[in-house]
């Protein structure tokens, strides 16, 4: 049985949600295995993160150093190369940091790489079978991975239920000396905070959210009219921002805003996980899409198979009718 490690991400001493999810994922590979957490950082933030991680992991390898006060994947990869034993399985969250760190790490450890895994079967000898999605979640695939020389696996955020992770009282092993001084060809300078704008989509109870299905910049007005009649705001998926039809501050998703409306109208949005990652608080989701097989219908409460360009104006006129009746 290969040793299993989990890379623990934290920010200012607070663990990322993935910390517990990676422990849950490890249990799928092997129920009985003792997973070791690896955590890098500096100063009091690292200590605080370790204290939290000890509750989830029976063993914790910590590496402390000023150069790890900000997580630079180029440095962290080198640190992991020094401490992760050959043949191990290393679990990392599939987010902006995992995408930066993990593929190169697999090469450096001469291990197999399986990205963005959403479920796993127990390890059978050297073979691990997992599920991952392709084509924006329209289809899934069973993938087999030969772990005989180890593996680096990135885990889809939110895909593994942390309810089953038992409490632990971890012991901390300081690995800092084994890592030593490192330098990288990429140096962190600063973080620029997301732009804000007049409309704050995180504060609205109803969102009319448009995706690539809105087709043209001019058609965004159709959604604006509906939103206005509903007292709602217009939000969107990423391609709408990429095409400069709406501002970045309107984007919902992992690289955009996290919203918590009561009602979310998904109009011409396919339902990719990076988009769904930004919808929290279990809103009532109404999806309008011309493709009955669009993944959005799997998570929506109500679905309408129709052309958004036809359906939204109809909806607007119904809202106006309702308001006219109410006003009488």
């Amino acid at each position: 049985m290969p040793r299993i490690f989990a890379y623990i991400a934290h920010k200012n001493g607070v663990l990322d949600d993935s910390a517990a999810e990676l422990a849950a994922a490890a249990k799928k590979i092997d129920r009985g295995t003792a997973v070791t957490a690896i955590i890098l950082g500096a100063g009091p933030a690292l200590d605080a993160a370790c204290t939290e991680a000890e509750r989830v992991y029976p063993e914790l390898w910590k590496v402390s150093g000023e150069s790890f006060s900000y997580p630079n994947a180029e440095l962290i990869r080198q640190a992991l190369m020094k401490i992760v034993p050959e043949g191990s399985i290393t679990l990392i969250a599939h987010d902006h940091f995992g995408i930066d760190l993990a593929p190169g790490l697999s090469i450096k450890l001469n291990a197999a790489f399986v990205p963005d895994v959403t479920s796993m079967q127990p390890l059978q000898a050297d073979s691990l079978q997992v599920v991952r999605q392709e084509f924006g979640g329209q289809v899934s695939a069973h993938v087999r991975c030969d772990v005989s020389s180890g593996a680096v696996i990135t885990i889809r955020p939110g895909a593994f239920n942390t309810g089953e992770v038992p409490a632990a009282a971890g012991k901390v092993v300081d690995k800092s000396a084994e890592v030593g001084m490192l330098s990288a060809g990429r140096r962190y300078l600063e973080t620029i905070a997301a732009e804000t704008s007049d409309v704050d989509i995180t504060k609205h109870a109803i969102l009319v959210s448009v995706g690539r299905g809105i087709q043209e910049k001019d058609n965004v007005a159709i959604a604006e009219e509906l939103a206005e009649s509903l007292g709602a705001a217009v939000s969107c998926s990423r391609p709408v921002v990429d095409a400069k039809w709406l501002q970045k501050s309107r984007q919902v998703g992992s690289s955009g805003k996290t919203v918590k409306p009561k009602v979310y109208l998904a109009c011409g949005i396919s339902g990719a996980f990076q988009h769904l990652a930004g919808i929290k608080g279990n809103p009532f989701i109404i999806a309008i899409n011309k493709n009955p097989k669009a993944p959005i219908f799997q998570v929506a409460d109500v679905g309408i198979v129709d052309d958004v360009l036809e359906f939204l104006p109809e909806l607007t006129s119904k809202v106006q009718e309702l308001r006219a009746v109410a006003a009488k």
Partner: protein, 263 residues
């Protein structure tokens, strides 16, 4: 600056409904519309804009078959001066590491200051760029949303991180960057532009040309194998409204009023 951009031809998910084939072991490929992988197109545009400022040429490369030449031509019509096709039956069944190994061999045949990939292929996994960098021992950055050329062989880049925040770094050349959509506005390419580059020869290399053997690439070398495709069942699924457009709209208004409250 000499720039190499790795590009891939993929089924276009905005043009196709991806479905399983009859046997259920692959997607139905018969009527698929293919196009250039979206972030790869942004990467080519970015390379062209950098080359326009610094001088130098942009080359585009793909690992594929003759059918994939069409995306090379498309990117050449945008302004890339060299197209390179890496094709060999022995490449079939390569996993991400295999593709990166083939691209590495191609990089080593030339002399590039900067290598760009897309963040992720439609049928991929956001892995090839990072693997290629590690194989070359070049610095790497993923999810890049801006590039500024600095003096003395350095770039200032921003990466997209959570919540729309951006991380700014400095990176040494040569390096590999994976480019995120939205970094620029890719120029338009018409049929006329593509016809204009139709007769430019495309350099084609096989495994032996690149000094690769079957222990490094193809099915035999793959540690990761896709067994089949299937359509996932998540959650209970939506209740579909089956009325006329007007009836459906009426029901939606009532639902919104009940669940969200109309102010």
């Amino acid at each position: 600056m000499e720039i190499l951009v790795c590009v891939k031809r993929v089924p276009d998910t905005s043009e196709n409904e991806i479905e399983l084939n009859r046997a259920g072991n692959d997607i139905e490929r018969d009527e698929l519309v293919y196009s250039i992988n979206e972030p790869d197109n942004y990467a080519v545009e970015e390379a062209l804009q950098i080359a326009a400022k610094t001088g130098g040429k942009v080359s585009v490369v793909t690992v594929g078959t003759e059918e994939d030449e069409e995306v090379l031509r498309r990117e050449m019509a945008m302004g890339a001066t060299h197209g390179i096709l890496l094709a060999d039956l022995a490449f079939e069944g390569s996993d991400g590491r295999g593709i990166a190994s083939i691209l590495k061999a191609c990089v080593e045949k030339g002399s590039y200051d900067l290598i760009l990939t897309g963040v992720q292929a439609e049928d991929g996994a956001a892995q090839v760029g990072g693997m290629l960098a590690a194989m070359l021992d070049y610095p790497f950055a993923s999810l890049v949303t801006s590039i500024e050329v600095l003096a003395d062989k350095k770039l200032k880049i921003t990466r997209e991180i959570e919540g729309g925040n951006r991380e700014v770094s400095e990176i040494d050349l040569p390096c590999v960057l994976s480019i995120q959509t939205g970094i620029n506005e890719p120029r338009y390419v018409g049929m006329k532009g593509i016809r204009a580059v139709q007769s430019i020869p495309i350099a084609t290399y096989s495994g032996p040309d690149l000094g690769l053997n079957s222990a490094q690439v193809g099915t035999a070398a793959a540690k990761v194998t896709r067994l089949d495709y299937f359509v996932p069942v998540l959650g209970k699924g939506a209740r579909f409204l089956g009325g006329t457009r007007e009836e459906n709209a009426q029901e939606v208004v009532e639902l919104v009023a009940a669940k969200g409250g109309l102010k």
